[in-house]
Subunit: 203 residues, 2 copies
Amino acid sequence: MTGPRLRLTREERRSQMLEVATDVFYERGYDQASLQEIATRMGLLKGSLYYYIDSKEDLLFDVIRTAHDELFDEVAGLAAGPGDAFERLERVIHGHVGWICAHLRWTRVFLHELRSLPVPRRQEVLASRHPYQTLLRTLILEAQRTGLARPDVHPPLAALTLLGALNWSYRWFTPNGESKPAAIAATIADLTLHGLRLPPQRA
Amino acid sequence: MTGPRLRLTREERRSQMLEVATDVFYERGYDQASLQEIATRMGLLKGSLYYYIDSKEDLLFDVIRTAHDELFDEVAGLAAGPGDAFERLERVIHGHVGWICAHLRWTRVFLHELRSLPVPRRQEVLASRHPYQTLLRTLILEAQRTGLARPDVHPPLAALTLLGALNWSYRWFTPNGESKPAAIAATIADLTLHGLRLPPQRA
């Protein structure tokens, strides 16, 4: 084991596989994608993929779960940071839009190919979305409890409204377009958080 | 031509074909859907479909265009109605959510299978989305011009934020679920319109 390291570690190879699979699922759609093409783009024989996964379905599941976990970890960190509920919601909005705009293909595969998973695995992914909605709902509830947010807004529906505004950016954002992620996030925060905020009480 | 009319008119048959095709595209995905299955569900021979369309791609294009046009017509009517810009935006929000919740399969096929169209037809559909965004943007601009809305909000991004909040409902709304379309629309209007509205000036 001397000399330059020419081989990727197992973990590096796995990351590469998920990246390449995301590209192929994005470009061809899951139905038309083949493990053969994924292996070829990685410079491997198809048989080598079975060291990491058992089937194409396994690979889609890994791509979708990894996308979800990465976004969730990033946003959960921001939600647990300092500041009042609105300051944290604003950082969550910026983090979410930033992640989506930096991982457009991953987001699209996640949102469009979930239905290609068989029902039990789809349910497993859908169940893992609940913690994310709970995170948003909890921040909105905290904003209400601390007297910062209007009490007449229904937190679960407000969380879904915010989630829709956030996730929609994957459909129209283009890296070279006019609108940058920070401006998109600022507008979403402006509209939804301003809409949620209780006007300051008059003296 | 006496006696009960047993045959559908051409127009009725065409509507039926679009409904059935939407179901099959929704259930199987475009790639796996077959004209044979669509014809069988309609009680027709496959060859009869060619009286209405030239190919499966034609049929997807018709489904997508029809969905878009119906939603646009409904919302354009509401946008042109009486009242100030905020009153009309609120009716647009209710109309849009109501249409989506009543046409979940159509919305899903529209949003997910657009990519199955070849580029020129996809561009044609995408171009037809501009009038819809323009409609929202125009109402937001009018609200700003008439002194009702905050002037510091960027109308194109605000329109896309609103569109995201509206369209997202297709992903989680279920007809028998707890949240009814009117409650969903009210929350979206509450957050986004309240966020857009300029606070009343103090005397």
